[in-house]
Amino acid sequence: MKLLNHPIEMIAVFDIDGKITPAKFRYEDKVVRVEKIIKRQKEKLAGNERWVFTCMHQQNYLYELKYEIDTQKWFLFKK
């Protein structure tokens, strides 16, 4: 996986319990559907809270999405 930390446009589901699930996002003019979320965890490096989603694409590519709570921005972190 390569580090990107690239801001992206995202459509996500926020359910009634406050759980966040990314659904699809736009990257380099392509729309990518989030197929499978393998792991979700919260990181608080230097106190900055971000949700980290490790996702799988087409059953063999791993990539990481991050959602920064304070700024409400989504990032494609690694792909």
Partner: protein
């Protein structure tokens, strides 16, 4: 007092550690702590000083407070990163929040230091040291940076303890440990002993903290007045400061400064510049609902000499005109007519404006001015900063509102225990 357990939490190389953790988060893999790095002012504008440095840079002789140019001469490989105060303030706030979840008694000492009163809390029930280790590891795991924790039964000793060996360590310094842990250290390691005091003490042959503790009190008093008594108490490990939970004012002072593009040589230009600085600083004062009663003015000559003066007023105010009058008065007292490159004004000793004491000798004009300022602020807010400006700036080539780069103190910084 003696049954208390106080922790002192100190973030190791705070700015760099936080920057590093931030870099890790955004996926940059530079290792700031293990290479020649410093956090310093804006490089492009070529002004600024070293705010923090990595350990290798420290070994090369880079010091906090040095100008970046000096630092580069000492350490040519030095890489300078501009500071990200937003990151640091957030990191500091979140650390505080975490600590608050273990004890409600957290006293903020500076942006990267906190005292915690841990007496009777659950995490130190089994062992005090284990509790501290737990906390230290928790911070490391959760936030991605390391802290030092000093343990004692008063704030002073806890602070001294956390200074012992860095980074990522827990130290204890209880009163019974003072003779073998604190006393052999050189005197400048003691809290409140700075460069000046150190020189004074060395002149009377005091090199270690033990010598200071056993010195005749009257000798220290003649030399340094009450400060002498204080540091001797500290050297003995006596500190009867109380735990204060600070609430209140968001700033300690509001200031504004600017380096002027040319050297200022005449009184009138200087006054205009001061006025423009006062305008922005006093607007910030009013925006925060604060009033001040100390005004200070600082100038830097083209030869880089600093002059400054401050005065305490007999009343609290936030009125631009009054503050400006005071500022030019101070300015005329310090200026010797030499060219000036930098001006600064600062307002301190703040108080909430709703608590303001009505001033006996206010004239009609003062009341009118007081009513005028908020109106101007609102106009500027609504129609743009330059929608109203003073006539003296028309075609003067000077900025009617100078500064704006926040120059405020961190709210909780203090050198008092």
């Amino acid at each position: 007092m003696s049954d208390k357990i106080i922790f002192h939490i100190d973030v190791n190389s705070a700015f760099l550690s936080w920057h590093q953790a931030y870099y890790r988060q955004i996926g940059r893999d530079e290792n700031l702590l293990e290479d020649y790095y410093a956090i310093g002012g804006n490089e492009k504008k070529r002004h600024g000083i070293v705010l923090a440095k990595s350990i290798p840079a420290k070994k090369m002789g880079v010091k906090t407070g040095q100008s970046l140019m000096e630092a580069r001469q000492i350490c040519p490989k030095l890489k300078v990163i501009p500071p990200r105060y937003d990151v640091y303030v957030k990191a500091s706030k979140k650390l505080r929040e975490l600590l608050m979840s273990y004890t409600p008694l957290v006293e903020v000492f500076s942006i990267d230091e906190c005292f915690m009163d841990m007496s009777g809390t659950s995490i130190i029930q089994k062992s005090v040291e284990k509790g501290a280790f737990f906390l230290k590891e928790k911070v490391k795991k959760e936030f991605g940076y390391t802290v030092n924790i000093g343990i004692s039964n008063c704030k002073l000793l806890a602070k001294q303890a956390s200074e012992f060996e860095k980074p990522d360590k827990v130290h204890t310094l209880f009163p019974e440990e003072v003779p073998h842990k604190l006393w052999p250290l050189p005197v400048e390691e003691l809290f409140m002993v700075g460069n000046k005091t150190k020189i004074k003490l060395q002149r009377i042959g005091i090199e270690t903290i033990e010598q200071l503790a056993s010195c005749e009190t009257s000798l220290l008093e003649t030399l340094m007045k009450s400060h002498g008594r204080l540091i001797q108490q500290y050297a003995k490990g006596i500190d009867d400061s109380i735990f204060v939970k600070k609430e209140g004012l968001p700033f300690k002072g509001i200031g504004n400064g600017s380096t002027i593009a040319f050297d200022v040589i005449d009184q009138e230009t200087a006054r205009h510049i001061l006025l423009s600085l006062v305008e922005t600083a006093s607007a910030r004062l009013r925006e925060a609902n604060l009033v001040c009663n100390v005004v200070s003015v600082g100038i830097k000559s083209s030869e880089f000499l600093n002059f400054g003066k401050q005065r305490k007023l007999s009343f609290f105010t936030d009125v631009t005109q009054t503050l400006y009058q005071e500022a030019i008065q101070l300015f005329s007292e310090i200026w010797d007519g030499k060219p000036i490159r930098h001006f600064s004004v600062r307002f301190s000793n703040l108080e909430w404006s709703y608590r303001k004491q009505i001033h006996w000798f206010n004239s009609q004009i003062d009341y009118k001015m007081e009513a005028l300022d908020p109106v101007i602020d609102r106009i500027r807010d609504k129609y743009g900063t330059y929608s109203v400006m003073r006539g003296c700036y028309v075609h003067s080539g000077l900025e009617p509102l100078l500064g704006g780069y926040p120059d405020d103190d961190y709210p909780d910084m203090s050198s008092l225990l």
